[in-house]
Symmetry: C2
């Protein structure tokens, strides 16, 4: 049990939404790949600090979610940042198994959206 002493007053500065949740971006701490975005409540943050592994709040199951508890693909937290508005978290993590997504993909962001040629042609020109 981690004592929530004055060192962790940053938690009190966070702005949770009306459901008591704050979005948390999980990013690989080595190569900076964005792996997933999920939601945390105060308890999820506290459990994450206590264990060093990422806990989230599952909005679909409406319960605390120890990421990787079933799959083994836990996330070891290395650093935590919050943004200028204190309403979003950024977790720098070590992704055990190198798989963050429930689909088996490394990152949940595997769907690349098609863009207008006016954008993609700019990119070609730049290179």
């Amino acid at each position: 049990m981690v004592k929530m002493n004055s060192s962790f007053l940053w938690i009190e500065q966070l702005k949770f939404n009306s459901q008591g949740l704050i979005p948390a971006i999980a990013q690989d701490y080595r190569d900076h790949t964005v792996l997933m975005m999920a939601w945390m409540n105060r308890e999820a943050i506290q459990r994450t600090l206590e264990t060093g592994e990422a806990y989230y709040w599952s909005r679909s199951r409406d319960e605390l979610w120890h990421k990787g508890a079933t799959s083994g693909h836990v996330q070891k937290v290395k650093e935590v940042y919050y943004d200028c508005d204190a309403d979003t978290l950024l977790l720098k993590i070590e992704q055990v198994g190198n798989v963050a997504c429930h689909t088996g993909a490394r990152s949940c962001f595997f769907n690349r959206a098609s863009l207008p040629t006016s954008i993609t042609s700019n990119e070609v020109t730049r290179r």
Copy 2:
């Protein structure tokens, strides 16, 4: 005006929240720094595709927000991804001026949270 033809059907797959918004993570397309997280509605996405520059929905001002319109720190969109649940966007962008945050910081995530020594000492041990 970009024609929203069948190439952009991915927009129809997105899951907007009850306010018609979807979170969008902006990440530097070169060094992968996470710069900010903001919200987009359907119009913001469409304007982003039309112009190649990131538009968001400002929840505080309750209006469409052309990022950088005032500061000049616009975001040129290079790639767009959506996640496995289609409820979060990841924009790979070129940050003009190399400043994404309204505070003048490069990234909005400049607040590093203090963590228990049980976590930080793990990190020291690993290295």
